[in-house]
């Protein structure tokens, strides 16, 4: 499968207007390379789904651009736009809502094949459908071809959604919480199937989840991006991010996550947040959006300027935190204003 990188370049998405304007995604940049897996992790309202929808071309950025092979998707000529549409497919969270209940599996899967003229004859269509169902682990395919969504379990429906995304040979699949509504015992089966697709077909994934443990499992060889209140706060290789998180928010998430192991989870190191409550997107704090909750908060330094996504940059591992930047010897990346304000505040309290 040929690959073209897809890039978000300073992409933002706003909802509402005036004082009611919500910056759901605010100045987020990253690239998905061909065949790569990137997991977006964050709590509800952090903008991870909106980011995914921009990447899939379902939402236009309010500011910034989506680039497909270096070209602005918003300005692509018809033909290339169509290619982009096929190249990026999305799998939605709710398998009960994303499949048409009155269509059977054959109809659901053959619609995109016909639309994009990917099969020429009836027999070719039949072969293709069988192939698709086998790829997503719905075997034997004959058993599923005539079924309607209501005759399938949550896990099976989600597999049909995946098969539908695969009909057009996508380069990237945006998977928005694809397993969160599936029973625990079936979840890993679905994840392992997606992993296999990634390995066998070389499909790139933008995998969106609130569950850091799932992200770790899915993108062990890939990257994780952690979002908070519309911003990317940390982005780096999964193994490094899980073992040595840089941003205090990532560290808080890791320390807060309960684990299915009584000894481990009861003796985990806890990070005490300064406040349990998440600020409203309508009334974002100045400076770093995490500062009202952050255990590392320093007056002046953290509430003056908003830290850039790459305030910390260590071999491609990025984190938006000035305190971490200073601790890691990258204090020169802190803007003058925050440095001065921080120093002043320290002098006052001393």
């Amino acid at each position: 499968m040929s690959g073209t990188p897809i890039e978000l370049e300073h992409a933002s998405r706003f909802y509402g207007s005036g004082s009611q304007q919500v910056r759901a995604v605010d100045d987020v940049s990253f690239t998905i390379e061909p065949g790569e897996t990137l997991c977006l992790v964050g709590e509800s309202g952090c903008g991870k789904s909106t980011t995914g929808r921009m990447m899939a071309g379902l939402l236009e950025p309010s500011e910034g651009r989506v680039l497909y092979g270096g070209k602005d998707v918003g300005k692509l000529p018809q033909e290339e736009k169509k290619r982009f549409r096929r190249a990026v497919q999305i799998i939605h969270q709710d398998p009960y809502a994303s499949l048409n209940p009155i269509r059977n599996v054959t109809q659901i899967l053959s619609a995109p094949l016909r639309r994009h003229k990917l099969t020429k004859s009836r027999s070719e269509l039949g072969t293709k459908l069988r192939e698709l169902l086998e790829t997503v682990g719905l075997t034997p395919p004959e058993e599923f071809l005539r079924k309607h969504p209501h005759e399938l379990s949550g896990g099976q429906r989600q597999r049909v959604s995946v098969a539908r995304a695969l009909t057009v040979n996508p380069e990237v699949i945006v998977a928005d919480e694809p397993v969160s509504m599936v029973d625990v015992s079936l979840r890993i089966g679905l994840l392992n199937m997606l992993l296999k697709l990634q390995q066998d077909l070389g499909v790139a994934f933008l995998f969106i989840t609130h569950d850091l443990a799932v992200a770790k499992h899915f993108s062990w060889e890939g990257r994780i991006g952690v979002m908070y209140l519309g911003r990317m706060v940390e982005l780096g290789s999964t193994q490094r991010l899980v073992r040595e998180p840089v941003h205090p928010y990532t560290r808080a998430l890791i320390s807060a996550l309960p684990e299915a192991d009584p000894e481990l989870t009861r003796h985990k190191e806890r990070l005490r947040l300064r406040s349990p409550d998440i600020p409203s997107l309508l009334n974002l704090p100045a400076g770093c959006p995490f500062h009202p909750r952050c255990p590392k908060y320093e007056e002046g330094l953290c509430d003056t300027d908003r830290p850039a996504e790459d305030a910390v940059a260590l071999d491609g591992h990025l984190a938006a935190c000035y305190v971490a930047a200073r601790e890691l010897g990258q204090g020169d990346r802190i803007p003058e204003s925050s440095r001065t304000a921080g120093a002043e505040a320290r002098r006052r309290t001393a």
Binding site: E43, S44, S153, G155, Q156, D183, V184, S185, L186, R187, I188, G189, L190, L191, N192, H210, L212, A213, V214, K216, H217, W220, V242, A252, L253, I254, A256, L257, P258, E259, A260, D261, P262, E263, L264, T265, R266, K268, R270, L273, P276, D277, I278
Partner: protein
Amino acid sequence: MSEPVGATQGAGRNQVLRVRDLEIGYSTDRGLVRAVRGVSFDLEDDDSLAFIGESGSGKTTLGLSLVRLLPQSASIARGEIVFHTASGGELDLTDLDDETLRRFRWRECAMVFQSAQNALNPVMRIRDHFADTARDHAETDGVLKGRALTERATECLQLVQLDPDRVLRAYPHELSGGMRQRVMIALGLLLNPRVLILDEPTTALDVLTQRAIIEVLRELREGHRFAMIFVSHDLSLAAELADRVATTYAGRIVELGDVEQVFYHPRHPYTVGLLDAVPTLAGEHQELSSIPGSPPDLIDLPSGCKFHPRCPYATDKCREEDPPLIEVAPGQTAACWHWEKVGSDWEARGGERHERDANRA
């Protein structure tokens, strides 16, 4: 089969709840849904018992039956639920008149419902929720009201780390999901119940909020003497908060034991399957596998052991006979014909698990 193991009579511990051979069904157009089948367990007054299982395993129905809030279409076909009240009496919950039931709920046993979003009345201030609960469930002569009510409500809200001044005046929509969930817990505590039932208390909440709720529940249990039953599909919640864990499948308890026993020495293949299916954040990358097949149709259950169509250990015996819950270790029971094999296979894999544990440290 009707005498579950694991009911220790330690010094100073009193039994609050005894459930025997409970059978609950829902009548539907398609037939009888057998949601709870022959469930038996005991609960001590400082016990924390978690029911874990997937959707449709009957765990919510079980929780609802303990406060007699089952919907109309449900009926208790058999069994007994005996509650030992604070005053030393015994109540059979399957047979209570409305007045006794009204006084039983919230004073003896309270429930925190799933999805706090929908459980609070959107047009009532939080203060009025407390007043309503007090009025409906308190004894007629000693209704909590006025200043006493405010004091008690304030106390309960502080226990769950909410600011009473702000929260009492607020409407539900002014609070976040995590705050509403904590309000629900505070409401449950209002009348000092001896048993608190929590149905998926942290589902649909974000990680940091979930952590706050877990810590609140842990502190409550340390400072106050009450028993807790919680029902969840989330194994990690049980790992955090439970003293004992009951794995449920197709309406039955298939394994019951101390939390360490169930997590570190499971003897039922379904428990093993669940443990193998949950990714952990700590440690190296693990191979995870799912349980093949889907949970059964509760109207048309398979013969014999209900797990046999998905079980790697299934033999003809499993297809024919449903295994009883038998003692597999002191305080641990499992319903599997092949529990010894399941156990030795698990322990044989122990090396690999210990390595994983070492990596986590």
